[in-house]
Amino acid sequence: MTGEIGRYLAMGGYAAFVWPAYGVALAVLGGLAWQSWRRYRASSNMLERLQRELRTRP
């Protein structure tokens, strides 16, 4: 079983190229999604705070 998994992970001797390719894609696209989400949360929190302040102030 481990032999089979090991053979799969070895990617016919090209593991050093195949896995980094998938890793780069995951890191870049995942990082972009994470950054976009963080910035979205920050912007909606800021807007909410401003709207609250506007309501409480005459």
Partner: protein, 261 residues
């Protein structure tokens, strides 16, 4: 549909519902694509297992080109009709296009090393894609270089339109010049010249990437609309002796906000 959504308030309502759908279908389709790419698809008879890099590399390249086209069309709409949502869409999409272009270049490099014996060659296809990447970076830098969002977007739109000339160069570089990069085998006259077992993972992956692009574009557009609205609220709240000329200028730069609110 586009013209109905071309109102910031309506866009916010629509994207509240559409965003989670796009996001979760993107995750599901990409997971399915990964299964096809890493498990179901056979190794290539010449390239062995390195062919699996193709299932990231080629869809990323398609995304890099089509997102640039999206940015350019949105820029044209923004310049001609002065539509605020169009310039927000262009600016929201550009970093996603840059990310896909980077993924295309990096995976191509990781594929080139074992197959060509070089991480990089200055051939027409590779060089024109590198130019595409720099066009994206230039556009992003230009849009963010101005304090006033409208001016940056207009300058960026002009650059985005000028850069369209690079798209056919990227597409046809493999036909016009003798390149180390192989010519097109899917999008070509006479139909795809690729086995169905390899075509399916490509198509599933590009569908997943497109859904991801839609979700991220909507998310980033919502962010930009929030930020513009917050900016307008701050400026309207400013104490009276706040330099009137600059204030009017800034508020008029974000017409989306006024109309949307």
């Amino acid at each position: 549909m586009i013209s109905r959504l071309a109102n910031p308030a309506r866009f916010m309502r629509f994207s509240t519902t559409a965003l989670p759908w796009c996001w979760w279908s993107a995750v599901a389709v990409i997971a399915l694509g990964l299964y096809f790419a890493l498990v179901a698809a056979p190794p290539d008879y010449q390239q062995g297992e390195t062919v699996r890099i193709m299932y990231i590399h080629v869809p990323a390249a398609w995304m890099a080109l089509s997102i640039y086209l999206f940015v350019a069309v949105a820029s044209a709409v923004a310049l001609v009709w002065r539509h605020p949502l169009a310039e927000i869409a262009a600016a929201a999409a550009a970093p996603i296009g840059a990310a896909f272009t980077f993924v295309c270049l990096a995976t191509g490099s990781l594929w080139g090393r074992p197959m060509w014996g070089a991480w990089w060659v200055w051939d027409a296809r590779l060089t024109s894609v590198l130019v595409l990447f720099f066009l994206y970076l230039g556009y992003i830098a230009l849009v963010n270089a101005f304090d006033e969002p409208g001016r940056g977007a207009r300058a960026g739109s002009v650059l985005a339109l000028a850069g369209v000339v690079n798209l056919p160069i990227v597409k046809f570089s493999v036909d016009w010049w003798n390149t180390l990069h192989q010519p097109a085998s899917v999008v070509r006259l006479g139909g795809p010249k690729i086995d169905i077992a390899m075509l399916i993972p490509l198509l599933v992956m590009v569908t997943g990437f497109s859904l991801l692009f839609l979700a991220l574009t909507m998310l980033r557009m919502r962010t930009a609309l929030n930020e513009r609205k917050a900016l307008a609220m701050r400026l309207n709240r400013m104490p009276e002796p706040a330099r009137p000329a600059e204030r009017d200028h800034l508020v008029s730069a974000g017409p989306a906000v006024g109309r949307g609110a």
